[in-house]
Each structure stands twice: as structure tokens, then as C-alpha cells.
Amino acid sequence: MKKLIATILVGSVLSVGVIADDWDDDNPAIFFSEDGADMWLEPQGPNEVSLEECDLGLGAGVVEGAYAQLPRYFEDTGKVMDLEARLVHCMVTLQGRDADEITAHPYSLSGETGTEIEALSTWIAEQSLDMPIQPPQDHDAEKAAYTLGEKLFYYRAGTHDFGCSTCHRQSNTRIRLQELANLTTADGAGAAYGSYPAYRVTQGVVRSMGWRMRDCARQQRLPEMQLGSEASVALQVYMAVNADGAPMTAPTMKR
């Protein structure tokens, strides 16, 4: 009961806006970030614990700077993981929650106003703001993920023969009116990778990099890319390594 009251007090202070006079832009991602900060601290699942002990790669509970060094290899799972895969891992191992339940509906559908993955990603990425994007390339698995990511980037398939490279290996081109990032260059990959999670004004919610991978695959006429999957993570490694230390700018606001 005491805990509940404390939560309510914290919650109400954040929501009334007494501390709300310190922002510079029109980006509604701030609301998602606030939610994410709360969710990190909120005890959940059968184990009724928070995510505070979650290791995002820099040690248990270290959030600051963690996003800028993901995806990376984790000893405990023997896998290269992106933020979203790692969050699911922590929700399962720390909180005792069901992985399938979390991954069944990770991203907002039409008319929805945010999911846990979207909010947590926003807040966690924000804790790497202005830091250089530097995922490690030390472990063999991290190097292999980059190599795979490059192959996937050029892999053409589907009814329209599209690959990531169809749109994202040239500079100074547009699709309709949108400038396309050349993801083979540090500038292009840095600007694109560092800008997610991003509030998408066309959708009214913050979208994560995992969602971006899923949605690119959809537009390539491919099946549904799964959160934290081998291909999704490898493509993110490819972009993040290509970014070569460019700064994180997320959460941004995009069309």
C-alpha cells in the first residue's frame, strides 16, 4: 500500500506539469519518454520487480549511454541483441513475464497511443542523447552480425525485387518528397540510425528502430519482421557500425 501511494505521488507530480517548463520543441516524444521512465521503475510481472537491474550492456541498471553501444553481444544469452530484444529478455528473466505476450503486440496499431516497448525505447535512447554511436565490434558474433547485416542490406527479394539497397545506397535522392539516407556512409547511417526512436507525426506515436526494420520489410513486400530477430538485429548492427561515432539525436520528430 505504501508503495502504491508513493507511485501515485510520483505519477501525479510528473503529470501535472509543475516541472514541465523546460523543453525546447514541439516533440510529443517527451510524453513517451516520461512514460518510459516510469515503466523502468514499475514493479511488474509474477516477480513484481522493476527493470532497474536490467543489464543493457554497460552493467546492471546502467541506462546512460547504453543505447549508443547497442546492438552488442551478451554473454548470458550468447547472442547479439538490440535494445528491444534485451528489454524482452529482462522482462522474462527479471520480471518472470511471458515473451510471446510481450512480442505479440510490441508496436502501436492504428488508433493506439503507445506501447511499453515504444515508451521504454524512447526514454532509454534519450539517455544516450548526443553520445557517439559506437556498438562494439570485438566479439566474433558482433563481426558476424555486421557481415550478415551487409548481406541483408543488399538482399533483393519479393514481388518488387526490393532490397534495403534499392533506396538507401545513394546520396541526394528522394522517394516522393522524402530525402533518403545513404546508409552505406557514416553521415547517412548516423543521421538515420541516430534519429530513432522518433515521433512520427503521420502516426501520432513514437516508433522504435525495431519498428522501422519491420516497416521497411513491409514496404519491401516481405513478411513481418520479428522484434529482436536475427535479421532485424544484424541490419541495425550494419547501420550502427556504419554510423561510425555519429551522435545520437533521438528522440526526434519525423514526418
Binding site: L177, L222, M225
Partner: protein
Amino acid sequence: MHKLLLSMVVLCLASLNVFADDSAYNALMNSMKAINGVGLDRIEQDEMQAACSNPQSMIADPEESERLRQSAMAAVKKPSDGVYLGDWKRGKEIAANGKGLQYSDDQNDPNGGNCYACHQLDPDEVAYGTLGPSLTNYGMRGQSQAVLDYTWSKLWNATAWVPCSHMPRFGHNGVLTEQQLKDIMALLLDPESPVNKH
């Protein structure tokens, strides 16, 4: 003789490319789920796709490249009734429509051509992409049989002209119907089409 042998070896290796390294294919098969009519079969590559997927996005061997180009050209199906031009007004709708064959699309709706994603056409449409060349005033070429054949085959399968072209093979892959292709032809070539009115 030596040269021939070598090129045969290269040819074999090139055509075996997809089997030699299927790490990308395997990763996608492990990473995707079939949904709303879009199955895992979409991940499988045909010969052209496999040949055009190495990190230079082009096949290394010019002979293989030429072989694929010719086989693409040979497979172009001309209009069954010999009529190449449809209705540019319908073509205009098709060119502007970016939907079709995504799992988010209604499978009962017609597919779009999404031409404006990459090309300028009607100059009054300001939201055009620049991945492909501008096609404004394309109709200046006239309507000779050579122009009709060239344009039709380009829409049907652009790799019949440019190996590893990034343009979807609208006819070859069944993205657009024969009638839709005729309507796009009219949008490009009809003197009354807004593409040619400026």
C-alpha cells in the same frame, strides 16, 4: 580454350551464388512471419534477384549479366490484342497509387504502380521522387512501334534493358495487369496526358 573454361567456372559459381552463401536467406527465414497473404516464399530469390544481391548490387561477370538480360527480354509478353495504349486517366491513378502486395494492403484492391515514388511525370504533381529519371514529356518520342515496344518491355521487365535495374518488373512479376500496363503506357505516350502537356 583456357578462357572459355575459366568463364564456365565463373558462370557456375555465379549461378550457384545463392546456394554458396544462404546466410541472408536463412536469417530472413528465421526472422520473419507470414502474415495476411504475404508468405515466407517472398524471401526466396529468383535468378535475377540472387545475381543482383551482392554488395556491389551488380553481378561481376558481364557474360552472366548479358545472359540474364537476354532471358528477361525473351520472356516479355506483348499485349495479347496488339493494342499498347489504354486510358491515361486510369494510368494517372495507377501511377499515384503506392499500395499493393504489402501485408497491410487489402488484397481485393488493385495494385498501384507507385511511379511517383521514383519518377517525375505530370509536372503539376510536386511530390515526386528522384531515384529514377524524370519522365515529363516522355511522349515527345512519338508512338512508333519501336517506342511502343521499348516502353512496354521496360515496364514489363526493366532488367531486359538494364541488368539489375532497381525498377520493379511490373509485368514479369504480375504486379500490374496487362490493362494497367496499357494505361501507364497511355499516361506516358498519349499527347493528351498531363505528362506531355507542358
